[in-house]
Symmetry: C2
Subunit: 432 residues, 2 copies
Amino acid sequence: MIRPAELIQRKRDGEELSDDELAELILGYARGEVPDYQMAAFCMAVFFRGLSERETYVLTDAMIRSGETIDLGARLGRKVVDKHSTGGVGDKTSLSVAPIVAACGVPLGKMSGRGLGHTGGTLDKLESIPGYRTELTLDEFVAQVRDVGVAIIGQTGDLVPADKRLYALRDVTATVDQPSLIAASIMSKKIAGGAQAIVLDVKVGDGAFMKTLEGARELAETMISLGRQAGREVVCLLTDMDQPLGAAVGNALEVREALDTVRGHGPSDFTEVVLDACGKLLALSDLGIDEEEGRRRAERAVADGSAEFVWRRWIEAQGGTSDESALPVAPVIRAVVAPKAGYVRELGAIRIGNAAVHLGAGRRTKEDAVDHAVGIVCRAKRGTRVDAGDELAVVHARTEAQADEAVRDVLAAYELAPEPPEERPVLLEVVG
Amino acid sequence: MIRPAELIQRKRDGEELSDDELAELILGYARGEVPDYQMAAFCMAVFFRGLSERETYVLTDAMIRSGETIDLGARLGRKVVDKHSTGGVGDKTSLSVAPIVAACGVPLGKMSGRGLGHTGGTLDKLESIPGYRTELTLDEFVAQVRDVGVAIIGQTGDLVPADKRLYALRDVTATVDQPSLIAASIMSKKIAGGAQAIVLDVKVGDGAFMKTLEGARELAETMISLGRQAGREVVCLLTDMDQPLGAAVGNALEVREALDTVRGHGPSDFTEVVLDACGKLLALSDLGIDEEEGRRRAERAVADGSAEFVWRRWIEAQGGTSDESALPVAPVIRAVVAPKAGYVRELGAIRIGNAAVHLGAGRRTKEDAVDHAVGIVCRAKRGTRVDAGDELAVVHARTEAQADEAVRDVLAAYELAPEPPEERPVLLEVVG
């Protein structure tokens, strides 16, 4: 029998745990035999000491073994691709990517999470659509992926229950942003969910868990290695999260922007990330095409309206209304104007993310309700030239007082300078 | 309202918390509003980041404010002195010191703890005496200190409940051995218990929480500073814990040795620590004498039998039998003999402590029962010259199998060398 206190102490002192010890700790936790307080201390020790490559693999494997796994490929009779983002501000990529690749003939069934902290969650965004059901049975999910090409639902409880419990614990004990724990959490879910090829979008910058390119690279390499050990193909995009992605931050606002992008009218940085991800996914699929051809087909699906057609079928199949005018609208709309002329030198993603949380677009605790209507639309992004009085952003708020506060917060996120900043592409690097 | 996850994160990232933040965290924990898992993560973050002098003071103060305090001095009409050890192997100092100083006219009422890990607890030792009651009401406690001069009981639940809860948590989350947390735990109890002058015995070495003299000095200085800020006089002895203190390790065995020492027949190293502590306590008392005179009086109380007389009155007042032959005796007694001639160069305290725990003398978990009869008597200490076949130690065990294992463990704790080791005094330093 393992003694959790002893394992915590050895990890705390920088030792590597044996496979059996670590697996028993995680499976014991999933069974409820190891209490939350010991796992919290263990995660904090891991935060300071890290996990070896081997330990990270064993952790991932134990999380997968804690629950059911789905062989989605066998059930669909197709090679299954999936994408996942490590989370950022304004990141609605999955919403646009799924219908575009489906329109190109590659089905995409995703299990997604809710937003926590300053980053939004795909499920919260989708729930701003009146009627949208995030809970389908596994059979409904598989049938919809087969018939419509797209389904996005919440994680089912039978899949990776150890991660479900561990993630909730890490969230309230300041142990989320540790590369091995992040990698194991993401990859255990993707592997257990049956994806055979995975495109990962690792966000880098002040609005992401990974603040530096080095840290993001390390995380990417860890996830690629975990995927390969499980026989999965993995590609990682490292993308900029120093400023929000696209313009919209906030649930219904982001759904609108995702749909605009599916129609070809999205913000350029966001469109770039979406088409990149689509190209990579199609190249990994069973279509037998390369990335360039994948990207061309994605652009065509956007241009010819087939992607928008799949969007509508998907939303309606999950009970939602595809009529955009049914999306909730905030009662107070306020412009944020430039106090002086200049170039936008910085647009702090974490400040915008936090301002959106204060407006009610995100959760401070797991019990908080989300206000789907509110948020911020950043019209001016890094490099934009503005005159004094020009609109920088628009705040969508529930009350006048919250609007006032958000206007101040948003202004503080913008840094204007006389010279344009160095150009920084949204796609920083590809790993794997 | 404080957000514990945010405070954990800031401590994790090396920030200093404000007085209000830290106090609310501790008081919230004592009230049951902050859950164990958040406090466990916080303690592990403190393990890596430490607490500032100010934070340590605020923590101590909050723990005191979490419960009742006793003005023992006012209730006795005397200046109250107390002693405390940070814990080691074979440390039965309080058992001998209390009746000796009481015989010199200075009452000593102590609230003590139970043993955990490889270190024994005063209460467990006393409970090896048939009939001894460790739970007295506060009124009974005060009356006995007044009438008999000595009372040693368990911590009452009304005193420093935050520490009670926190200590139990730290014990199972590998966060015990952190200087600020140790200092706050000890000093909050001493201050809340009403001691006006305190002699602290900080153990240093492989069998102690503090492995190095530097660490012990830092802990001593922290505790002295905490005491002074609360208006208490504090003196710290730093004493050796590289080898067990005295010869006996195990509850009833240690009670016998403590009584032998009160009668003047104790091991020399242990007698030295006891008389040092007595001299310091008497010098801090309201007798108005210096340390040298205090030590002389302590020696006299031992020599003239008055200390033994107080011992018997004390044990009987608390319901115990003062007849030593009533102490439990282990059924299997086995000698450990020297495999070769030489000098004892090392006698590893932690190995002896763990061997005693394996015999059943200590607890592995809080729920374990203690076997009061078993233990180890180390006849040969560091520097002793032995011939092959000479007795090094005696194992007192419950079963033959446990005796076999303990003999092996004890042998492994002894290191014999052809040359005598450098002499090392048991009293290493005095601080304060």
